[in-house]
């Protein structure tokens, strides 16, 4: 059976982290699966670390705040060191539903894809699909992604993703610190990895505020667009 690791980056998630962990443990018991968990505490200033240690949640406490990319990459490094077959990025804020992990890892197990993205936009299920402005942003990134890589990805900013050993290795070597989701997806496509999108439902954040604040959206779009254009002209070594 494949060793599966859920990487949970957490920054000031004291209100959500225990619920998220418990939902995974309960699901493991109920469905007779064994998804391991590693929380990457990105130097939170609240009680995230204390809650993890008190409840015996496996956690890596980063000694300095790195931002989302650096935190997630630490998870991939941990996955590589501990020889995991599949790594799943899973949000610590209660947005992702543990029941969908099975759906997104199945194509990886069956070797149908190197990476699977849990997508909000290829389903008709009436679910939380982000705000209007952000949906437009995601669409624009999708257009640029098609231009840069020739492939259409619908949910370009989804942080709910599963990947195989090859990509774990790839990510542990290099992972962008800012805007990692669209950038890594485009880079993987250029390296000729197979990426599949699977419909998932996402919930609204249970507490706290999202790291992408409204006023940062335009700046975010500008950066991602430039990054994608660079990916378009950059040459990549194809995966084996």
């Amino acid at each position: 059976m494949e060793k599966v690791l859920l990487i949970i980056p957490a920054y000031n998630e004291e209100d959500n982290i225990l619920n998220t962990y418990n939902s995974i443990i309960n699901y493991n018991k109920k469905s007779k699966v064994k998804y391991d968990v590693i929380v990457i505490n990105d130097c939170s200033t609240d009680c995230t670390s204390e809650i993890c240690h008190k409840n015996k949640i496996p956690v890596i406490d980063l000694i300095h705040n790195l931002g989302i990319g650096g935190a997630v990459q630490t998870g991939y490094k941990y996955a590589k060191e501990n020889d995991y077959d599949i790594a799943v990025q899973f949000d610590g804020d209660g947005q992702h539903d543990i029941r969908y992990v099975k759906d997104i890892i199945t194509p990886v197990i069956k070797n149908e894809a190197d990476m699977v993205i849990g997508s909000r936009f290829i389903t008709n299920i009436d679910t939380f699909k982000s705000t209007f402005a952000r949906r437009i942003g995601i669409k624009v990134i999708s257009v640029f992604m098609k231009f840069a890589t020739g492939k259409k990805i619908y949910d370009t900013t989804s942080g709910f993703r599963a990947c195989n050993k090859k990509i774990i290795e790839d990510f542990s070597l290099s992972y962008p610190n800012e805007y990692p989701e669209p950038i890594t997806t485009a880079e993987l496509l250029k390296k000729k990895y197979t990426i599949k999108e699977i419909p998932v439902e996402m919930k609204e954040r249970e507490a706290g505020t999202s790291s992408i604040k409204t006023w940062k959206n335009i700046y975010y779009m500008l950066n991602v667009t430039i990054a994608l254009l660079m990916i378009k002209i950059r040459r990549y070594k194809k995966c084996q």
Binding site: L62, L66, T74
Partner: protein
Amino acid sequence: MPISLTITLIAVALFLIILTTCILKKGRISEKYAILWYSVSLILLLVAIFPNIFIVISKKLGFDVMSSLIIGIFIGILLLLVMAQTVMIAGQKKKTILLIQEVSLLKKELDNIKGKKS
């Protein structure tokens, strides 16, 4: 060129040379950057001592006055310097991230080992 300007230029050049030497002596900049600042001082000295060469060059390049050429050269040097530093900062950031990750992973491993022992 008026004599007062010549004196000012020489004074600024000497000040830069002394300042760079002091900072370099304390080991607060690398030789690489010291060379750059020495070169800037040298250009200033050359302008002060041989203004005619620069007057000819600035006329050839279409500058109305020599001072525009000098300012242009310095803006160019500063832009390149800022660009080089931006590259350096990005490199340093990558190294810092790597260090933080490795130390944090090691700490986790150490905790695991300690946990197993106790």
